[in-house]
């Protein structure tokens, strides 16, 4: 399960859960399946000004957050890390929602449950 401890409600989408660069890099990895630091950098720098070292740092942070996995690849091109996501985007988002809802119920009990029931009833009514 993905653990996200902070949601920035003023931001939209993935950026409400992660830093802007983290979100962009994760999106690239979801598209590319796996990539080296330099490959992620080459895609990203077409959209924005970024340093190769920043990409390397962010990929390591995503690895620490257990959002991406990495393996050492050794071949003709040298020795590198090859990064890939741990889950699909859909599974990641479901996991964040599940985690958040569970925490709200843990913290606010019946109030939260009643609210969700009312909300789902409204949604069905619509």
């Amino acid at each position: 399960m993905v653990t996200i401890n902070r949601i920035r409600l003023e931001r939209k989408g993935l950026e409400s859960l992660l830093g802007p660069l983290e979100a962009e890099i994760l999106k690239i990895l979801w598209t590319k399946k796996d990539a080296r630091v330099r490959e992620v950098y080459n895609i990203l720098r077409q959209k924005r000004k970024v340093a190769l070292t920043s990409v390397a740092v962010i990929l390591d942070r995503l690895h620490e957050k257990k959002l991406v996995k990495r393996e050492v690849e050794s071949g003709k091109g040298g020795t590198h890390y090859i990064y890939s996501t741990r889950t699909s985007r859909g599974d990641f988002e479901s996991s964040v929602i599940e985690n958040t809802v569970n925490k709200l119920i843990d913290n606010f009990g019946n109030v939260a449950v009643n609210y969700f029931n009312e909300r789902f009833a409204k949604k069905k009514g619509n």
Binding site: T53, S74, H80, Y81
Partner: protein, 246 residues
């Protein structure tokens, strides 16, 4: 029966030898702390200190052993020294040059780099520096680091994270820098200092620092000379700094 336990007793000879050992330990520390000595002399003093540290232990252990088993114990200073000193030197050499570097090589998460181009490059410059060709290892770490040591066999360690952010010329600059460190034995001093701090309780009385700036400059100068430009070593160092500053 007394002959069987003569080794276990604490006699004047053992006290004299122990006192000489402790004095030697203090003198070596004093020299390390007070004087700006060359790397070779510093390493020699560190091992002289360690030998003096281990000597009383070896002396008492061998005496207790021969006493316990009723063997002919050596009783005068000359005999004691003749047996215990070589044993101590062998133990110090094994611990310093075999056990600790081997433990480090075995315990670190690393893999040998077998890239032909890199090996050819290392072979060429090892020959030029009259060094035995070191092995090159990639350490499974994202943090950009590179280091080397020279012991019974030399090795250069480069983290995968560093390989990720450097280009070919920058990697070559780092390898040249580390080869120069192996040549000037700077890693041997660092390793020896760590062994000293690990084993010797007296080392806390006289902490001595080793200014590595000069060695770093020497290693950089070698890379610049061989590449005929400072561009690559500078950009490699800038990237390492950038990574740490993010």
């Amino acid at each position: 029966m007394l002959g069987c336990f003569v080794g276990i007793t604490l006699d004047g000879n053992k006290i004299i030898l122990t006192a000489i050992s402790v004095s030697a330990m203090l003198i070596t520390l004093f020299l390390l702390k007070k004087f700006n000595l060359s790397t070779k002399v510093k390493i020699s003093l560190i091992y002289a200190h360690l030998t003096a540290l281990f000597f009383p232990f070896v002396l008492f252990t061998t005496n207790v052993a021969c006493g316990t088993f009723c063997l002919a114990c050596y009783s005068n200073i000359l005999e004691m020294t003749a047996i215990s000193l070589p044993t101590t030197l062998i133990l110090a050499t094994i611990s310093g040059f075999l056990v600790i570097p081997t433990f480090y090589i075995v315990s670190s998460k690393k893999m040998e780099i077998k890239n032909r181009e890199i090996l050819k490059f290392v072979k060429h410059y090892s020959k030029k520096l009259q060094l035995k060709m070191p092995k090159i290892y990639a350490v499974n770490k994202a943090e950009p680091i590179a280091f080397s040591f020279r012991s019974f066999k030399s090795a250069i360690f480069i983290s995968v994270g560093l390989l990720d952010i450097l280009n070919k010329k920058e990697i070559e600059a780092i390898i040249l820098h580390e080869l120069a460190h192996i040549k000037i034995k700077s890693s041997a001093l660092k390793l020896s200092t760590n062994i000293l701090r690990l084993f010797s309780p007296l080392s806390v009385l006289a902490r001595f620092s080793h200014d590595s700036t000069q060695e770093e400059e020497l290693a950089d100068r070698f890379a610049i000379k061989e590449q005929e430009t400072s561009r690559y070593i500078k950009s490699a160092k800038r990237k390492i700094k950038e990574y740490r500053d993010v």
